[in-house]
């Protein structure tokens, strides 16, 4: 009974987003498209960071690889945008596998720093290899041959589809063998290995899936904005925002990260628009607040029925 009700609500919300573009104007279509995009990036991050507990701060590197592959394939080979996106995503996943085997051996801070270093190295290569990538000046993609309104509507539905794909992937992983293996690794990697989980390949598969989805999002981003530069698509702030969204919603859950993306992006669009000069201050304060007050996410808070005493108890338990 309860499951049926939840399914009904989910279908209704989904249908709502399908008819929404008929009701809203260009600005809000853009806002909701960007919420979808962050939902995709956050959902992808959730696979490696939420389930497996590996703090992949440099995950944005796959976003950049997807974006640049799409741009290069469209410009230099003449691919259609979707071909570029898919190949870019495959390249990102391949890259995750290649660097994953050595780097995923590192634990804790060392892994986080290694991924930051990888992101930095790839960004710098995109910057310095100007003859191929356009360098710091950035690169302009071929403009779409259609009316601008219908183009934005198309992007809206592409990103919505990607978001559904991300949710489905998260759902399948959470219920399947891989999800159990990853959660076991997160809780105690040595114990997981002792009980027969081959951790290296589980982690690499999880990271590759995460990279594939992030790469798709990067490709669509490149097509959508039709101009990319290293500083935007390798921006570490994308990963930081994704982390905060994931924690805000609830790391390691299926719906949580997407919920977090909706909340934070909506706040950012409605509140920051009014305070241009202090928007980093507000984001920073939100980050600090989320980390201290709701580190286990809104979903967890919801299950505890927003009890204040539980909140205080949590803070007391985690502080020294």
């Amino acid at each position: 009974m309860k499951n049926k009700k939840q399914l009904l609500i989910a279908v209704l919300i989904g249908l709502g987003f399908v008819v929404l573009p008929l009701l809203i104007e260009g600005y809000w279509i853009r806002v909701i498209s960007s919420i979808f995009m962050y939902g995709v990036v956050t959902g992808a991050l959730n696979i490696i960071a939420g389930f497996a507990g590996y703090a992949a701060f440099g995950n944005v590197v796959f976003f950049g690889i997807g974006a640049y592959s799409t741009a290069m394939l469209m410009l230099r080979v003449g691919f259609p945008w979707w071909g570029g996106c898919v190949i870019g995503a495959i390249l990102a996943a391949f890259f995750a596998v290649v660097v994953g085997f050595p780097v995923l051996r590192l634990r804790g801070h060392y892994f986080a720093i290694a991924t930051l270093g990888i992101n930095r190295a790839v960004e710098q290569i995109a910057l310095d290899w100007g003859s191929f990538t356009g360098g710091g000046k950035g690169i302009t993609l071929p403009l779409p041959q259609m009316e601008i309104q219908s183009f934005y509507a198309m992007i809206y539905f592409i990103l919505f589809g990607l978001l559904l794909l991300t949710l489905l992937t998260n759902f399948v992983i959470a219920r399947g063998r891989l999800g159990y293996a990853l959660r076991a690794i997160r809780d105690d990697e040595d114990a997981a290995e002792a009980s027969g989980i081959f951790a290296p390949s589980c982690k690499v598969i999880a990271w590759a899936i995460s990279a594939f989805i992030t790469g798709l999002a990067g490709g669509v981003f490149a097509y959508w904005f039709s101009f990319i530069e290293p500083a935007t698509v390798f921006d570490i702030m994308i990963a930081v925002k994704a982390f905060v969204m994931m924690m805000l919603g609830g790391a390691g859950t299926v719906m949580g990260p997407v919920l977090g993306a909706f909340l934070l992006e909506l706040i950012s669009e409605t509140v920051w628009g009014q305070f241009l000069t202090i928007h980093m201050l507000i984001l920073g304060t939100i980050v600090i607040g989320v980390v201290i007050f709701i580190p286990r996410g809104m979903l967890h808070l919801f299950r505890q029925r927003f009890s204040l005493s539980a909140l205080i108890r949590n803070i007391k338990n985690q502080s020294i």
């Binding site: 960071a49 984001l283 985690q318």
Partner: protein, 298 residues
């Protein structure tokens, strides 16, 4: 003897490059010593350390421009200001999550970083700033090698500060408590160390070192509120190279990075320099995870 277009002998040029490498390395070491202290003692990666350095630069800039205090004399002020910022950030924010694990503290410092950058931006705007005392361009020559006074003094102060930190950690009561907490937090608590206070002092000292570093850097290059990311990347590389949580590790890693960068730029040109040092860091992480010096605070 061969001479290059500027008319200096090849040998003098090599020496000059090496000396520049050491001068750069001294600043790098100073960037990393404080960062590695927080990491080694509390297992906190303070991403805001880079912006703390920038804040030190701005303290010096403010004192120099509006009050007319010599940049070298402003070092104690920026250390004091940053000590307070670090102390209270740890006391009232980081201490609330530091026990749970790396995820939370790492993201919390990202949030702090954003707040700090925005605060500096509001006070000083985003313009490029520089601190130029009357002696800023002057230098002397030894055997065809240029030695700028400021760089030499910077090297001296870096060595002095590192020595003082080492003395503080090994000779004082608080320093011993810090090292005990680094070794085993629970055991330290059992023997009566107030861990919450020690952690706050540790981040305060770490931030004070960042402040001193910022004051020194303000004299050798111009800066904006957004420079922190560059410093933090250097700190990562140095800590990984030199090994974690060890004053000498940061020192050696810093000088090594300085030498590698200046000689690399001389031989290969400046392109891809950042990419190469990031790749070196990843390789060292994979193959020598303990770094060159290794070992935690003992």
């Amino acid at each position: 003897m061969q001479t290059n277009p500027i008319g200096r002998s090849e040998k003098a040029l090599v020496l000059q490059v090496l000396l520049n490498g050491i001068f750069l390395g001294a600043i790098y070491a100073n960037i990393a010593v404080g960062f590695s202290l927080a990491w080694g003692v509390m297992d906190v990666i303070n991403v805001a350390h880079g912006t703390m350095i920038v804040m030190g630069s701005f303290v010096t800039f403010f004192l120099f421009k509006y009050i007319g205090i010599d940049p070298f004399l402003s070092i104690p002020f920026s250390m004091a200001v940053l000590f307070l910022i670090g102390y209270f950030a740890q006391r009232y924010l980081l201490n609330l999550v530091v026990k749970v694990g790396i995820f939370l503290s790492l993201i919390l410092t990202f949030g702090l970083d954003l707040v700090f950058i925005n605060a500096v931006l509001l006070i000083f705007t985003g313009d490029y700033r520089s601190v130029t005392p009357s002696y800023s361009g002057s230098n002397f020559q030894v055997g065809g090698i240029n030695v700028p006074y400021i760089r030499l003094a910077t090297l001296g102060i870096c060595i002095l500060l590192t020595g003082l930190l080492q003395l503080f950690l090994t000779r004082t009561r608080t320093g011993n408590a810090i090292r005990a907490t680094a070794q085993n937090r629970q055991a330290a608590e059992i023997v009566g160390v107030n861990v919450a206070r020690i952690y706050s002092v540790t981040l305060g000292v770490s931030a004070a070192l960042a402040g001193a570093c910022g004051s020194l850097i303000s004299m050798v290059q111009s800066f904006t509120p957004f420079e922190g990311g560059f410093f933090i990347m250097k700190a990562f590389i140095i800590c990984v190279l030199g090994g974690l949580g060890n004053v000498y590790g940061a020192m050696i890693g810093g000088v090594l990075l300085g030498l590698v960068e200046t000689t690399g730029a001389r031989i290969l040109g400046t392109g891809f320099q950042e990419a190469i040092s990031a790749i070196i860091m990843i390789l060292v992480l994979i193959f020598m995870p303990k770094g060159i010096v290794g070992s935690k605070y003992k």
